[in-house]
């Protein structure tokens, strides 16, 4: 296995989740603990072995949120005695009774072991719901052994919304679901447009109060912006009958306009006019041209931690005359059309997987200056010039693309302390100093 392949040699079915995995020092991506702490008044309980607990407890410690998480350690005696249901039940009772404040939601994370021991955890939650009717108990999962069909991050984004029940739908209220970061009206076309049309937007990332979160029951449409949020959108559509509209992180202008039009139609508000769309296209093209000028041929590398659609973004950049050196992806999840177009556009584009075992010994140096879009791009090219963000944070649509261009320009012009920044766990959380 080489550390990279040229895209012309990469099969569309490419998935790096095979073979031994390497863990790079890039820690900006959020994990289940970061996401769980978004719930106001929520408390997380992790039930698993010592080795699994270590990562989650230190995540909360680094965030300064120790009071938001407790643990129940599964030890040998619990496995041998077969009392793992009782352990979850009585352990949770003990934690609730010990907390200084009654939580509104308790997220109980069971682990791989519970599946293999056939633990009837749903029965436990039933008993707990009866015992504590004022608390919403949510079944959550830290079970990476199930990742092929049920990965943990999409799961948690869905599960934290499970307490929502069907309610009367308000045509003037929508929810943004499954995001890690709030959308900014200056960098998100949809948020700006909805606000201008008087639509109330509820977003877990901005909530301070549990009751406000429950108001999401009354939203008439749920919007998602990231592929990992789709489970949440779909689940709410099925359970609550709320319309789900995935807003594609697209770099195809027609698709952005199409999604915006669909959103407006669902809400019965006017879509952006043809003139407005033309203006947005022009502004975005200008931003691309400006960025290209600033970079002056400096190559770029894109990774899947920074954007949801790294291949499409790379194609867009290449089509706009940028130099793209490499993309870093763990699997190809984008449309085959995009993949084939990229193969045709730049057959010698390098494709890396940060999971591959050879990435441990890869020569991280790069001859000349390169700008990384994302932490992994930066680390594997050992460049201090990089866009430090994850999940296309707060960006959507034309204004989102323009924001990305401004971030790239900023990255190209200023060195960052890459070693320190990329090792902070959970970009955008209060990580350790």
């Amino acid at each position: 296995m080489k550390e990279f392949q040229l895209i012309k040699d990469v099969p569309y079915e490419y998935n790096a989740d095979k073979g031994l995995h390497y863990s790079s020092p890039c820690r900006g991506m959020w994990n289940i603990v970061h996401y769980g702490t978004l719930v106001p008044g929520g408390h997380q309980i992790y039930v698993c072995s010592t080795s699994c607990l270590r990562g989650v407890v230190l995540t909360t410690a680094e965030m300064g949120a120790v009071d938001k998480l407790s643990t129940i350690t599964v030890a040998e005696d619990n496995i041998l005695d077969g009392d793992m249901e009782e352990q979850v039940l009585h352990g949770t009772e003990k934690i609730i009774e010990s907390l200084p404040q009654r939580p509104r939601m308790v997220m109980i994370f069971i682990s791989c072991m519970h599946h293999f021991m056939a633990v009837n955890y749903q029965r436990v939650y039933k008993l707990l719901r009866k015992e504590y009717p004022d608390i919403d108990f949510v079944d959550c999962y830290m079970d990476p052994i199930m990742r092929r069909k049920s990965p943990v991050m999409p799961n948690i984004r869905r599960q934290v919304l499970r307490p929502l029940q069907p309610g009367a739908q308000d045509m003037r209220q929508v929810s943004f679901v499954g995001d890690c970061f709030p959308m900014d009206p200056e960098t998100c076309d949809l948020k700006k447009h909805l606000e201008e049309n008087g639509i109330r937007i509820l977003d877990l990332t901005e909530m301070k109060d549990y009751d406000e979160m429950k108001q999401m029951e009354h939203s008439c449409v749920n919007f998602t912006f990231h592929s990992e949020a789709e489970k949440a959108g779909k689940d709410l559509e099925l359970r609550l009958g709320q319309k789900w509209l995935p807003m594609r992180e697209s770099y195809v202008y027609d698709e952005i306009e199409e999604d915006m039009a669909k959103a407006c139609q669902a809400l019965g508000i006017p879509a952006p006019s043809k003139e407005e769309n033309e203006l947005q296209r022009d502004l975005t093209e200008q931003a691309a041209a400006h960025c290209r000028e600033v970079l002056d041929g400096t190559p770029l590398a894109v990774d899947s931690t920074a954007v949801d659609r790294p291949l499409e973004f790379a194609l867009y950049l290449l089509n706009h005359g940028f130099e793209v050196e490499a993309v870093l992806v763990e699997a190809i999840t984008e449309d085959e059309g995009v993949f084939r177009a990229l193969q045709k556009k730049k057959p010698d584009l390098k494709v890396y997987s940060s999971l591959g075992w050879n990435m441990r010994i890869v020569d991280r140096s790069f001859d000349g200056k390169i700008v990384g879009i994302g932490q992994k791009s930066a680390y594997f090219h050992d460049t201090p010039y990089f866009v430090n963000e994850v999940e296309n944070a707060g960006m959507y649509g034309f204004s989102g693309i323009r924001k990305m261009f401004s971030l790239i320009e900023e990255a190209a012009g200023e060195k960052k302390d890459m070693e320190t920044l990329i090792q902070h766990k959970g970009w955008g959380c209060s990580a350790c100093e």
């Binding site: 296995m1 989740d17 095979k18 073979g19 031994l20 995995h21 390497y22 863990s23 020092p25 820690r27 698993c48 072995s49 010592t50 080795s51 699994c52 270590r54 990562g55 407890v57 230190l58 410690a61 680094e62 120790v66 009071d67 407790s70 643990t71 129940i72 350690t73 599964v74 030890a75 040998e76 005696d77 619990n78 496995i79 041998l80 005695d81 009392d83 009782e86 352990q87 009585h90 352990g91 003990k94 934690i95 010990s98 682990s111 791989c112 072991m113 599946h115 293999f116 990476p144 052994i145 092929r148 069909k149 075992w357 050879n358 441990r360 010994i361 070693e419 090792q423 766990k425 350790c432």
Partner: protein, 386 residues
């Protein structure tokens, strides 16, 4: 029913798997953690200060549901073989977490199959992710020595090995160097430091020592093995402060002379005591050594100790109760959450095995002669920190 093992606020000590990885880090091998996901990033993020700057081959197998259910070990054999062909490690270590334990994964048998397939020595270390790092370090050192140490070497007088040394307990080389210096100043030659700062070849000569010093409870298993297999007695105690280091050195001389292993501190005195002036919370060997040093400095029996159990970790209820019965608590800063009495004085002694990287820069040089216990108790800098 068995224990609930609930921690409302307390952290978790790092696990056996991290102990194995930490031990093998500098020895030129490749370590494979048989686990679905998570253990590797936990170790490399929180427990391994060398990860960014020192390349070492640490990987996770990425065990998935179907492979575990089918018990298909050939997937692991194939994957390790592929990686080994690219990386040519000197040896391979195979350890694992809870799921391999539950499905009764055969470490020894699979290690044999990998060795046959690759021609590279494979060391099976049957961890289960349920125990503390001390267990993992101990098992890893023991298994490595079984395979690679030269047991035919004659013992050299006044030569000592330090056992149980990894960054999980000792964070930086500077802290280890202070221990070595303190022993050398008392007439000993430090042969090996297992396993931090020494090479594969150096560790192969571990049996040259006439006595072993267990400086963390992680060193107990290899010490017992070396005692039984090579006739090297051991002393248990971490050289902390000049006075206690003198006691350790005296014990080393006695052990070397009579061939009998011994403790440099009275563990039962510290652990059975329910209340006192100074409570030391942490890994047993270092905490008891510090307690002994505290008693020595104060000239009275003031200290008592609470340590995590290798299987059950730190008992949070016991922690809160013992903290209530102490005037001063010494421990990792994250233990502060357990203090209920605002008058209790807390002295921070960060421990990588507990709070990971959070307070790494504040870990003082707590070993050797430079560590002044009285200054430390007064809340000052006992011997400097990085």
């Amino acid at each position: 029913m068995s224990e609930l093992h609930v921690n409302v606020f307390a952290m978790t000590y790092t696990a056996d798997v991290s102990g194995v990885c930490s031990t093998m880090y500098e020895l030129g091998g490749m370590t494979v953690l048989h686990d679905p996901s998570g253990c590797n990033s936990t170790y490399t993020t929180h427990d391994e200060p060398r990860w960014y700057n020192t390349k070492s081959l640490m990987y996770i197998s990425g065990l998935d549901e179907m492979t575990a259910i089918m018990g298909d070990d050939s997937v692991l054999v194939r994957d390790v073989k592929k990686a080994a062909e690219d990386l040519s490690p000197r040896f391979i270590t195979l350890c694992g977490s809870a799921i391999p334990h539950l499905i009764a994964f055969d470490y020894k048998g699979t290690a044999h199959l990998i060795e046959k397939a690759t021609g590279i020595p494979v060391i099976p270390v049957a961890t289960d992710g349920l125990k503390l790092y001390t267990s993992g370090i101990g098992l890893a050192l023991r298994e490595w020595m079984k395979r690679f140490a030269d047991f035919s070497l004659p013992h050299e007088k006044d030569t000592v090995n330090l056992l149980g040394v990894t960054p999980i307990d000792f964070s930086r080389m500077e802290i280890v160097e202070e221990m070595k210096k303190a022993l050398e100043e008392r007439g000993f030659t430090v042969n090996c430091c297992a396993a931090m700062g020494d090479s594969f070849e150096k560790l192969q000569e571990i049996c040259k020592a006439s006595v072993n010093l267990v400086v963390s409870s992680a060193g107990m298993q290899p010490a017992k093995m070396l005692s039984a297999k090579a006739g090297i007695p051991f002393v248990v105690g971490t050289p902390i402060g000049a006075a206690f280091t003198d006691q350790v050195a005296q014990c080393l001389r006695e052990a070397q002379a009579d061939g009998k292993s011994r403790y440099a501190y009275d563990a039962s005195r510290f652990q059975e005591k329910e209340e006192g002036e100074v409570l030391v919370v942490g890994e047993k060997c270092a905490s008891c050594s510090l307690a002994q040093a505290v008693d020595g400095a104060l000239g009275r029996e003031a200290a008592f100790v609470l340590s995590p159990d290798v299987r059950d970790g730190l008992d949070e209820d016991a922690l809160v109760e013992k903290m209530k019965k102490a005037d001063i608590v010494i421990g990792d800063p994250l233990l502060r959450y357990g203090i209920r009495d605002p008058h209790t004085k807390f002295i921070a002694l960060p421990h990588e095995g507990y709070s990971g990287r959070i307070y790494r820069k504040q870990i003082p040089v707590f070993t050797g002669d430079a560590f002044d216990v009285v200054t430390f108790l007064e809340g000052g800098r006992p011997g400097g920190s990085a």
